[in-house]
Structure formats: C-alpha cells, structure tokens
C-alpha cells in the first residue's frame, strides 16, 4: 500500500516554508503605502487563487489523459487535484470577502470576478458530488473525466473577468503586459508565499492521490491492471 501515516520530509519542508512566509508576510515586509496592513491579505489570497487554478488545470489534464489511456491513476490524480482546488477556492472566497469588507466596506458584491469565482466553486463542488453519486468505479472515472474537462472552461473566464467586464475587483497587478504594478519587496514576498503554497499543494496532492490508490487497492470489485 503506497500510503504512509507519518509526515514525510517533504511535508515538513512545505510546512516550514509556509510558516516562514506567513511570518515574513505578517511582520517583516512593510505595509502597503495605499492600503496599509490590510494588503498583507494578498500574500495568502492570491497564492490560494493561483494554486486553485493550477489544481483545476491538473484535473483537466488528468481527465484528458484518463479518457485517452483509461488508466485509473489519472482519475486518482484528477479527483485529488479537484478536491484541493475546491478547498483553495473556498479559502480564496473567504479571504477575499474579508479583504473586501476592509477595503470596499462590504463582504460581498456581485462583481464579475467574485461571481465567476463563486460559480467555479459550485461547479467543482458538483464534480465531487457527481463522483459520489456513481457506484461503478470505471463509469465514475469516465463521467468525471468528461465533467473535469468541461468544468475547466470556467478557469479562464474567472481569470479574465476583471479585463472583460467592469467591476470592483482590481485588474491584474503581476501577470499583465509590462512590469508588475507592485513594489519589488512586496512582489518578492508574494512570490515566496506562492512557492510555499505550491510546496503544500504538491505534498497534499501526493498524499491525496495515495489515499485514492489505497481505496482502489482495498476495493475488491476492481480487476487487474488498475
């Protein structure tokens, strides 16, 4: 069985990196000139959103690979990434609501970015529900793969919503034409935070995929070659 109960070295590394970037983001980097300390929310809000995109991209690619190769290892990767992406999207929405309350004076607005992110959350919650409602392992994997491909259409819509429609949410500050419109010290902390979130994501993805492999191994209804 590929699962391990103990915390791996990689897990410790990821946790330590996250702890360091959290401390630096809270206490070391200077406050933003315009927003003050509340801008520190960016160091957790933005990496959560970017990693959620990455997670759903992993689900998309794994789903394509499953339909092509019909190997359950791709399905395991797809469900693992989708679940982590959903958790990160939830974190993005909640931290965004807190940031919105501090800067806009309200928790929620039917702004294009917020609305499309909420739709993204519901769509991937649906992905997990669809999986749970299907009993046959191979049918579940096949339908989930189709769902995982179609659902990914939402991700570019969420990302470009701030450019396509007017709203409260600010336009991109890092991934945009020309130089990033952010101070270099703050940008460095943002990228360091992104790196630590990526390590946690990889660790969680490996562990969650191993959990799914353990479930499949315990499932006697599966045939060989899975």
């Amino acid at each position: 069985m590929p699962m391990k109960a103990r915390v791996s070295t990689f897990g410790l590394l990821a946790g330590t990196a996250l702890a360091i970037t959290t401390i630096v983001g809270l206490f070391v980097v200077p406050a933003d000139a315009a927003q003050g300390d509340v801008q520190r929310i960016m160091y957790v809000h933005v990496p959560s959103a970017w990693l959620a995109y990455l997670a759903f991209l992993v689900t998309f690619v794994s789903s394509v690979l499953y339909l092509w190769r019909r190997e359950l290892r791709f399905d395991r990767l797809a469900i693992a990434a989708a679940e982590i992406g959903l958790v990160l999207t939830g974190i993005t929405i909640v931290t965004g609501a807190i940031w919105g309350k501090a800067t806009w004076g309200k928790w929620w607005d039917w702004d294009p970015r917020l609305t499309t992110t909420a739709i993204l959350f519901v769509v991937y919650a649906g992905y997990l529900l669809v999986r749970q409602s299907l009993g046959d392992r191979y049918r579940r994997a096949r339908l989930a793969a189709v769902y995982g491909i179609v659902a990914f259409v939402n991700v570019p819509i969420v990302h470009f919503s701030v450019l396509w429609w007017r709203g409260l949410h600010q336009a991109p500050t890092v991934i945009r034409p020309g130089d990033p419109s952010i101070d270099h010290t703050l940008l460095f902390e943002l990228l360091a935070s992104l790196l630590s979130f990526t390590l946690v994501f990889i660790w969680a993805l490996r562990r969650r995929t191993a959990l799914e492999a353990g479930r499949d191994a315990a499932d006697l209804t599966l045939g060989p070659g899975t």
Binding site: D37, V87, A102, G214, A218
Partner: protein, 67 residues
Amino acid sequence: MTELPFVAASYLIVIGGLAAYITSIARREAVVRRTAQAIGRERHHDPGVVSRDNAATDDDEAAEADR
C-alpha cells in the same frame, strides 16, 4: 490599527483551513488502512484456503467425478 482583525482572521482561516483539510486526509487514510488490514485478516481466515492435510487429492476428485 483597525485592519489587524481582518488580517488576523484571513491568516487564521488559511492556516486553519489547510490544517483541517490535511487532518481530513489523515482520517480517511486511517479508515483505508483499517479496511485493508481487515481484508488481509479475512483472506488469512478464508475457509477456501485449506492446509495440505485437508486438501482434496487428485484421487478424491476423480472419485467424485466418477460418482
């Protein structure tokens, strides 16, 4: 500093959310491990697996087929 509760709440939600999720993975891993162990025990005590002393010989099977 009026923004401090907002910043603190955000960081607590991120750390708490990730911790809760990783705990949920660990809990599910424990369930799978117990299930795998139970399956292993069942296989060990499977009545279909018999010792050589009790196993039917080729002669027994031939006699059964003749009957």
